[in-house]
Symmetry: C2
Subunit: 882 residues, 2 copies
């Protein structure tokens, strides 16, 4: 049997269903599903994604498809009592893309298809509205010209601007019917001029060309960029939906809009959306006019609102999730154009998931899977502290919650360049378009002068979890001059501003931020996640404040306490430098003796917070030159302080310079050359734990050796620690429990993990360095070429963001397998930054780690991702360590 | 049955044999073997290496050992008709170390043991030589004090110097018997002063303490350093030989010396050695007096020489190898003290091996195993070109062949420091001692003022394959002032000198070098090796000259042709810089178009030399900043040349700077960002091959992509090359054969080798970078800590010298296994510097590579090592590629 390429929906003949998303795309499957539910949708048919893939491969429709399309058109003519290209009651259709996963605005759409010089007259007669007819026709020529004939949108815009100037009016709606009719002639001429051929008058040819153009738009640049950003396979292809047109712009009893069954920002259970009266859908999406809230229907068409609320409830009940619906009202009659599970903020996702459980619609496990773990970041980031007295210079729509502080940039390219240099930027645009995606991705926040809550900027920002203030019409954005004027302020490129995504406020300068609070639904959901997950979650925490945050964010211990940060504090750095500059072991020991009480105090502080929870303390890791002064002024100061010559200090910094410091004299290699450093640190840790024990607290240090490459060097380090610990415990007359283990962050250590595990009590995979070495990729330098790799689709994701499972992941697996083959109950964790990234957490679950460790505010993300991994792949039992 | 700890030899009771080297050490086994062959050896007994290990573990002799020693002493008393500690005919013995592998001079020895205030008088009576008796006694106290009582040698030396000054004489031999008797009293007093106890008078106590001291000397610092340098396990322990003393210093009919059965420098078949008349062995080894050639015996004791020649022939016939023999003549009677397979220069090793085959003593395979592959380096290094008119300022003994040019340093520490900074140094010492080993290891050559051909400097230098001029007595070396005076010249530290190790000439300044010639026995041996080996040998060669050298050294192709070296040439670097500084693709293409003819010419030149042999060409590898100007002056020049601002050039160099360039924007990553570079290079290669084809030569380029990390990036690069090649061949109307493959030098590439091999036609393992990444070890920076790792025995060998089989080697194995599982006949080679190091070549044989590639002059080393690996591990059949 040949593939079925075309599926009908509506008007009593619906062949697809929601389950056929793969073939019909999200939009097609939903239209079919809605039609089966007897929701009023304009009838139509869907060409499958398979048809697209086939077409893109051969540049021809599969055999029989075109005939099938013509057959469907006959069905629609019959259903609507209209004629495609007919000069009495012409049938007009839309041709829209519809991929498996939503890619809003990325691919092309053609509306009003079927209009030509003859049918436009018929439409005028039929509707009795000449202005509407020619408005539709000029929009169609513009869109067809742009999408199908690859003409520039602004060439059409220039003509309409000229017409408006000519007529002395400022908006499109002020143009008369005759003006628009004249415009269609000018558009026709433009088409002839730019393409060399007349605008196609044959509706069937229009349809064929439009379907082909929409298929091809799967591979346009912005669609490819979007798929890369959201990891959507390029092989899927898009479906195409051909559907009878209904019009929201046939008069004041018409309108079009978008609505959500619950508030996508807060999750509140009430219909939430916007409507543009007397307008077409494209006006909403483009954000060119600012729409009214959907509650405006209450006054103007109350029965429509009631019907909509009933449909919304029915759809939500059917899909068991919050719905995002597009609709059009034509002469007081409601048509549902599309429904899908709605994008939402993390805050809304949490509330909706918890409330759907309370409503008995879903169970707790399903609720846990309903929240994108990464999106919790939105809830865990600080917000603008408005109490401090901020200078609000304008207020727009609160389009995506959170807060952002950054320097103003005016183009996506500038955003990428400046963010690449480590700068925080706010991308300011009159309105955003899909071309801006890369810029939005690197910006702290997005500010637009036009567009509503469902404008491109708002939708994309919410999905990215980025703060966005949209439609801030008080801003006069002059992108060419790189300035914003607003309420008497002139803001230039590079000036600091702050955005409050919860209120829509635009603030001059750098606002203060305040920490988020986690409570209510959030706490409930996290409790469910904690009940489900197998994987432990610890925090990377170096200070008392970090440790307190770790507990606040639900982490169960510290997986990485970096001791070098302690060395940089002002009262210590001089001793550290004295140690490095000492030329003898005795000199180093003297300097270290001053550091010992500081380090001991650091650990006591952390143990006081963490109680008997595990605290994994990494011994000194960075190369010593990081501690040496960099400027001449600092060198002079150090020289004076230590009573040595400036030349001596300079010489030492020269000696310690390295070609490739990542692969240099650091980690446990420092201990091989300067064992006394390790002895001091081990002593500080054990003395601190002994002190806690005397106070009745069983602190639990896990002492971690960094940068181990093999067993001989590991044993050397381990023995130093163990001997020091033994000595201290005898001195103190106290026995404490502690572990000694190692980072596994060098490929060779993964290979030698079996030998290392002979004596190592735990492994902690340092996937930052392991990625750098396994991939031969310096994180500091990869910015020069990684974007090009992403651009050219040579890597799926930045391996420093998500664990490269195929390469680095296999090294981790080898390390775990060999370690456990020798010591089955060896404790295994990860402390690279991947520990807080959901796909990496899933990987850690799959390789049966005991825990992940991440930045404290990412704790909840890791907890949720761990629960989702357990649901997806099942639980396992980690070894009992303690 | 308990372990047997003691083995007798000589005087009709020999319990050991040559095969018991493991227990008896080299010296003990040889003494036993010689004794069984009825060679005249002084009788004695051996305490086993096992006894040493046991002793070092417990600090006590194993049960029964001391009783066994006393029993053996009784046997010796009986055999010699003498009495240990007897006041008539006292038995004196030597106590010497003897490890499984020779460690010359590294461990301790005590001679004349048994002397005390009573026996010295007996010895005087018995020998009728008071001077000899007290000379022996004062030597014994000195040696015992130094070795057993841990006193300083120079404290004894000071007393003897004072005595000489006092007597107004300049040499020891001028001191009278009474002077020496007086000196023993002073020595006794010194012992009392320094140790708090009197010198032990009881011979049994002397013996016990001496045996213990020799056991302990296994772990002295210089022995540990030596074992590290020569990869001798620390766990072996040393045997101890207790043997009756015979004296070479009892008069003018006495002597002692060392001789080889063939010339260890040239391999010539004739007894070769040295004798010091009326002297003890330590005088020879210490190099304090310069000995006479052994031929001097011909006049003085012809019957001894004849006997020696007969014994030498008998021993050589027995051991089937050249022998290194120590002997003493006591009152005209020859005693053989030791024999072992002699160390020899590579030149001698080759000649001896070939001649032993000619003599029918060994077969070709054995001959091939008889030459240390690494030692061939000596033959393959250039020699001083004496024709050019050099300024010879002194001439010493040609102690180790070759040539060396370097700056003068006076201490081992200075040698290490300056060589570490990349400098070539010549270590100049009055005489070397085992403490100098590290300095000798890094020096280009060694020059001593004292000592003969078997002095410490000469023996060690020959073994290291380093040029050495020894015993150059015209030099007045003032180490404290860091000067040498000789024949009116004053040479200071840092001055350039050159050494001719073949003539013994010391030359002022930097002499010219000339290339070695390989012929005769060398050619014969290499032909045997080529017949035996399985592994192919290619050369790393970037130029026509390199390619010619590759063929001269017997390489079968080029395994690594680095194209970046071509970019640095004066007529090209400006275009390279213009390319890098261009801001557009068009600008880069313009600059590249100028480089194309140069590159094509380069390849034609190489193909002309290599004919139809494979030439593996690596595409551009280093980061672009390596090509940019470094100094302000150069930047200005470039700016002027390219008509851009100096600021612009500075800015570009800033932009291209990297934190960790090893892991940065280089290799095939350059091609992802600038595909046009690869296109130019591929075009140049294929155009060159087409040109050769038109001339009737089937050049065979293997185009190699560097720094591949995974399959996507590989495919991108491969497709660029393949498409360019196809285009060029169509343009040229010529089909050529070529391969496209990749370096495997990133750990991830080893893991992804299966996927890469889907389309890669060859792999070449870049073990330099693979070591850096697998080990997390920057070669440029490891100098800060690798010496400490070697010192502390945490690594066996520098992993940049010999492949780290346990880590890096496993990555290589994984890569080969996965590559071959997908493409069984994939060509596999290695092009890191390991390709010319014998243990690494053996590794490559074990993992069944097709070839190794190395620097041209190391070609013969690789060929010989490959043959030795085949003999050791058997042949295998590599896939047929072409």
């Amino acid at each position: 049997m040949a593939d079925k390429w075309i599926y009908a929906f509506g008007a009593g003949n619906t062949e697809g269903s929601a389950s056929m998303r793969e073939q019909l795309g999200g939009k097609g499957a939903n239209l079919a599903e809605m039609a089966s539910l007897e929701i009023p949708v304009p009838p139509g048919f869907t060409l499958t994604t398979g048809c697209c893939v086939d077409y893109l491969g051969s540049n021809e429709f599969p055999a029989g498809v075109w005939e099938g399309v013509l057959g469907q058109m006959e069905r629609l003519e019959k259903a609507m009592g209209a004629k495609f290209g007919g000069d009495e009651n012409p049938l007009l259709v839309s041709v829209r893309s519809g991929a498996r996963d939503s890619m809003p605005g990325m691919m092309d759409t053609v509306l009003n298809l079927g209009l030509n010089d003859a049918t436009v007259a018929a439409l005028e007669r039929k509707s009795g509205n000449r202005r509407f007819a020619f408005d539709s026709y000029r929009r169609f020529i513009n869109m067809f010209g742009n999408v199908v004939l690859e003409m520039e949108h602004h060439d059409f815009e220039s003509l309409i601007e000229a017409m408006k100037n000519n007529r002395g009016v400022s908006t499109d709606v002020e143009l008369s019917a005759d003006d628009l009719a004249e415009l269609t002639k000018q558009y026709d001429a433009l088409v002839k001029e730019k393409t060399g051929s007349a605008f196609p008058q044959d509706p069937a040819e229009q349809l064929r060309l439009a379907i082909e153009a929409v298929f091809k738009s799967w591979n346009n640049e912005r669609a490819v960029a979007y798929r890369r950003l959201y990891s959507i396979p390029h092989a899927w292809g898009t479906a195409v939906n051909v559907q009878c047109m209904v019009y929201g712009n046939m008069g004041e009893d018409c309108g079009t809009g978008v609505a959500f069954s619950r508030d996508p920002s807060t999750g509140e259970k009430s219909l939430y959306g916007e409507i543009l009266f007397n307008a077409q859908g494209e006006d909403v999406v483009a954000g060119i006019r600012t729409p009214e809230p959907i509650s405006a229907l209450k006054e103007r068409m109350p029965e429509c609102l009631a019907q909509f609320e009933e449909i919304s409830a029915r759809l939500e009940d059917h899909y068991k999730d919050m719905q995002d619906m597009e609709f059009t009202i034509q002469n007081g009659r409601l048509f549902m154009l599309q429904t899908r599970n709605g994008k939402r903020t993390a805050r809304a996702a949490v509330r909706i998931a918890v409330e759907l459980v309370a409503e008995g619609r879903i169970d707790k496990e399903t609720a846990v899977t309903r929240v994108d773990a990464d999106s919790l970041d939105q809830l865990l980031h600080p917000a603008i502290d408005m109490d401090g007295g901020v200078d609000v210079i304008a207020t727009g729509l609160a389009a995506s919650p959170g807060a952002a502080v950054g320097k103003v940039v005016f183009t996506a390219a500038d955003a990428v360049a400046q963010a690449g240099n480590g700068g925080d930027v706010i991308l300011v645009r009159r309105e955003t378009s899909p071309e801006d995606i890369m810029g939005m991705d690197v910006a702290q926040g997005i500010l637009t002068a036009r567009g509503g809550l469902t404008s491109h900027a708002a939708v994309v920002a919410r999905q990215m979890g980025k703060c966005c203030v949209a439609g801030c019409s008080a801003l006069n954005v002059q992108a060419d001059e790189k300035t914003i004027e607003t309420n008497g302020h002139l803001i230039k490129e590079g000036d600091w501003i702050s955005l409050n995504g919860n209120s829509g406020d635009v603030i001059l300068g750098q606002a203060n931020l305040k920490q988020p609070e986690m409570a209510g639904d959030f706490t409930t959901l996290m409790e469910w996640a904690d009940d489900i997950r197998t994987l432990g979650v610890r925090a990377n925490a170096d200070t008392v404040a970090d440790s307190e945050a770790a507990l606040k964010y639900g982490c169960e211990g510290i997986g990485l306490c970096r001791t070098e940060h302690m060395f940089f504090e002002e009262d210590r750095i001089d001793y550290v430098r004295a140690m490095i500059l000492a030329e003898t072991e005795a000199g180093r020991r003297e300097a270290l003796s001053h550091l010992l009480p500081f380090q001991r105090g650091d650990f006591i502080g952390i143990f006081e917070v963490m109680g008997d929870r595990p605290v994994t303390i990494r011994l000194l890791d960075p190369p010593l030159h990081e501690f040496l002064p960099k400027t001449l002024h600092d060198m002079e100061q150090v020289a004076t302080l230590l009573g040595i010559s400036v030349e001596g200090v300079k010489h030492a910094t020269e000696i310690h310079k390295e070609q490739n410091p990542m692969l240099g004299h650091r980690g446990c290699r420092l201990v091989v050359t300067y064992p006394e450093i390790c002895e001091m640190q081990a002593r500080a840790i054990i003395e601190a734990a002994c002190e806690m024990k005397k106070r009745g607290v069983s602190a639990f240090p896990e002492i971690m050796v960094p940068l181990t490459a093999g067993e001989a060097e590991w044993e050397f380090n381990r023995n130093l620690v163990a001997e020091t610990a033994k000595k201290v415990m005898v001195e103190q007359g106290v026995e404490i429990r502690y572990l000694v283990g190692t980072m596994i962050e060098i490929p060779r250590a993964c290979l030698r993990a079996g030998q290392i595990a002979e004596t190592a009590e735990f492994f902690s995979f340092g996937t930052n360095d392991l990625t750098q070495m396994t991939y031969g990729l310096s994180r500091d330098d990869a910015g020069q070429f990684l974007p090009e790799y992403l651009e050219k689709n040579l890597i799926a994701r930045d391996p420093f963001v998500a664990v490269d499972c195929e390469g680095v992941g296999e090294m981790v697996e080898i390390g775990i397998e060999r370690g456990r083959s020798v010591r089955p109950n060896i404790e295994v964790g990860i402390c690279g930054e991947h520990g807080g990234e959901p796909t990496s957490v899933e990987f850690c679950h799959l390789v049966k780690m005991d825990y992940v460790s991440c930045a404290p505010p990412r704790g909840p993300i890791a907890r949720l991702a761990a629960a989702q991994a357990t649901i997806a792949h099942g639980a396992y039992k980690t070894a009992e360590i303690h």
